[in-house]
């Protein structure tokens, strides 16, 4: 929180892709040794993905906690079937870990239980008024919607309710949309009900480009992400000025530990964020973007560091 103990924390968002069990467990084993303070765990995109079941996620959560991490259980963004609500209820009633709501169904279940919760990217908080209402129901942390600008964030921060933390998506492919249709299954001419778990073949989604070869999106089952990686590392000074509490890094199969290490080094003041951001960007397959932060189209590249 703002004040003398103000210290930016690093969070790792939930894995948005479908990775096999071994790959997931190995990934978190490595992550537990990094400098992230908070780890979000759970399936948020598609309930058909079952590398880990709810009990497996809870076991993993215990292990991450034992490794000294704050653990938050993330929940689904698009819930349609009763079976999905059943899993959601089980997570909301877990009794041990804070839950991140990505749908109003989760907000309802968590507020009924009177436990504090986190508002994830799936919840539309566009103003201090909405944030205050949800804080009254138990929200203790909110994620700024990725399409909002630093100006809007500043306006919300100025009137932020007491004891509510602000988290910003600072690194990763932006979650842009959810659909009833599975675009990965569609690519393979398969019906969603018989998708043959093709997402397993695309550990970082399926790249979509324009007919001119311009990288545009990544198809991740029913989720659509940006092809470009949002990188706000160069804005670290401003994020601090705005009293953001938590920076979220979204996992990729490769290089996530490096990204965490770079952010941690920048937070520690050991290296220059602008230079480090440029280095990270140089290694990105489809380049970086930071337009939303500047109130521009999200895919734009504005910062000096991103050239």
């Amino acid at each position: 929180m703002a004040g003398i103990d103000y210290q930016l924390k690093l969070a790792l968002g939930p894995v948005l892709y479908y990775w096999p069990k071994e790959k997931l467990l190995d990934f978190y084993e490595r992550i537990s040794a990094t400098a992230v303070d908070i780890i979000y765990l759970g399936e948020t995109v598609c309930s058909k993905r079952h590398a880990l079941n709810t009990s497996d996620w809870l076991d993993l959560a215990e292990r991450m906690r034992a490794a000294g991490k704050e653990v938050v259980l993330s929940t689904m963004a698009l819930l349609e079937a009763e079976s999905e609500l059943k899993t959601l209820r089980r997570l909301c009633e877990n009794g041990r870990f804070t839950v991140e709501a990505n749908d109003m169904s989760a907000v309802r279940l968590l507020s009924e239980q009177k436990v504090p919760f986190v508002l994830g990217t799936g919840i539309n908080v566009y103003s201090d008024r909405t944030l205050r209402f949800l804080a009254g129901l138990g929200a203790k942390r909110w994620m700024m919607p990725v399409e909002l600008s630093r100006q809007t964030l500043a306006a919300i921060q100025a009137k932020r309710p007491a004891n509510v933390e602000t988290e910003v998506f600072v690194y990763g492919r932006l979650p842009l949309a959810y659909s009833a249709r599975c675009f990965t299954a569609r690519h393979h001419n398969l019906p969603k009900d018989d998708c043959q778990y093709r997402c397993l073949d695309y550990p970082e989604g399926l790249a979509l480009s324009t007919r001119e070869g311009q990288a545009f999106l990544a198809l991740n089952g029913i989720q659509t992400q940006s092809a470009q990686t949002c990188n706000l590392l160069a804005e670290l000074a401003e994020l601090r000025e705005l009293k953001v509490d938590i920076l979220r890094i979204s996992p990729q199969p490769d290089g996530t530990e490096t990204v965490v290490a770079v952010f941690a080094a920048c937070l520690g003041g050991e290296v220059d964020p602008v230079e480090e951001a440029a280095q990270l960007n140089a290694a990105l397959p489809f380049g970086a973007c930071d337009g939303y932060w500047r109130g521009q189209p999200g895919m734009r590249v504005i910062s000096q560091a991103i050239t």
């Binding site: 963004a77 309802r108 103003s127 009833a180 249709r181 659509t224």
Partner: protein, 343 residues
């Protein structure tokens, strides 16, 4: 049970039609809309297009016209205000209440909260932009804001709609016809990613000002925010570059990777929607012309009446489908998510 017994057992579906201006509102009322939904002339609604929508005077005339014929008018205030814009949304809610509209269709929590506290007598509907795809989410809005109805996103199959209905504390309105959003409404940022403006923030998707049409040696190209959305061979009918309906490349294949340019048409599902107990059918298209509103309202009025009279014998008439086909995007229609196979 006889057909007439079925008909009398179920309530007639309410037909909710779009109006982007006064002539559209009047023609909707004249051709059988039970309710008409409109928006004000700013970014407080999700069809914030130049030259479209109602100022207070026009809205008053429209409401008077509809009420004189015992029809209802709803006002969509279904975008998400940011702190600097709040006064505009507040004014819009107050104005809707003063005009005596029959309901506000809203999505944002701050708007719903203000409307309920300030104008408790004004019925609230949860907009499709509110993204309520399950009954627990609907209960949230019912518990806190006393919503009377929810408009379902166009992502649920028929069995899923039925399950929501069986557990919902409020009436359901579903989309029957018009432009098809393939993404969960209220949670799609594709438009702002490319153009800086999204339905949530600005009330627009793929805004016209970001569109470019260019004749090139390779064919007619349509661009949005500079991004190539589609390219058409000579003689191929070109469509508006809504960004999820373009042809893109994925793993060396060029195709409609997200969705074909089609319209939703659920005419054949009417008896089932009616039997299920759906309260209202919504027609998309406030941005469309009065001619569109006339045509679509006429057909849907006839269809709903026919289905109500005799759901068992009901079958969509060829001339209805022909008329709707003429005004459909890409001249094609689909059952969308209602038909599970489509997903």
């Amino acid at each position: 049970m006889t057909a007439s017994a079925v008909a009398s057992a179920s309530k007639r579906l309410e037909l909710v039609c779009p109006a982007g201006n006064l002539p559209s509102l009047k023609t909707a009322v004249d051709h059988g809309a039970d309710s008409v939904y409109i928006g004000f002339r700013d970014d407080t609604n999700a069809r914030h297009f130049p030259g479209l929508n109602f100022d207070a005077k026009m809205a008053a005339q429209g409401i008077q016209y509809a009420h004189a014929k015992k029809r209802r008018v709803f006002v969509a205030l279904n975008t998400f205000p940011q702190p600097t814009g709040w006064e505009r949304w507040k004014r819009a809610v107050d104005q809707a209440a003063e005009l005596g509209v029959d309901a506000i269709i809203a999505a944002d929590i701050s708007v719903l909260d203000y409307a309920q506290r300030t104008h408790p007598q004004l019925p609230l509907h949860l907009s499709v932009q509110g993204s309520a795809t399950n009954y627990e989410a609907i209960r949230f809005y019912h518990d806190h804001f006393g919503i009377k109805r929810v408009v379902l996103p166009r992502v649920l199959s028929l069995p899923q709609v039925r399950h929501v209905l069986e557990n919902s504390p409020v009436d359901l309105e579903v989309f029957g016809f018009g432009g098809l959003c393939i993404m969960v409404e209220g949670r799609c940022l594709l438009s702002s990613y490319v153009t800086g403006e999204s339905p949530n923030m600005c009330g627009v998707c793929s805004p016209a000002k970001a569109v470019r049409w260019e004749e090139t040696p390779r064919g007619l190209e349509t661009r949005l925010g500079g991004l190539l959305i589609d390219r058409y061979a000579p003689g191929e009918p070109a469509g508006y570059p809504t960004l999820c309906k373009g042809r893109f490349e994925v793993a060396d294949q060029t195709y409609y990777a997200i969705e074909e340019p089609t319209s939703l048409n659920t005419l054949e599902l009417l008896p089932e929607l009616q039997r299920m107990g759906i309260a209202a059918i919504k027609i998309e298209g406030r941005q469309r012309s009065p001619a569109y509103v006339t045509q679509v309202t006429k057909v849907w009025r006839a269809a709903i009446d026919a289905s109500h009279r005799n759901p068992v014998a009901y079958t969509p008439q060829p001339d209805w489908l022909r008329e709707l086909g003429k005004v459909s995007e890409g001249q094609q229609t689909t059952l969308g998510a209602y038909h599970r196979i489509w997903q």
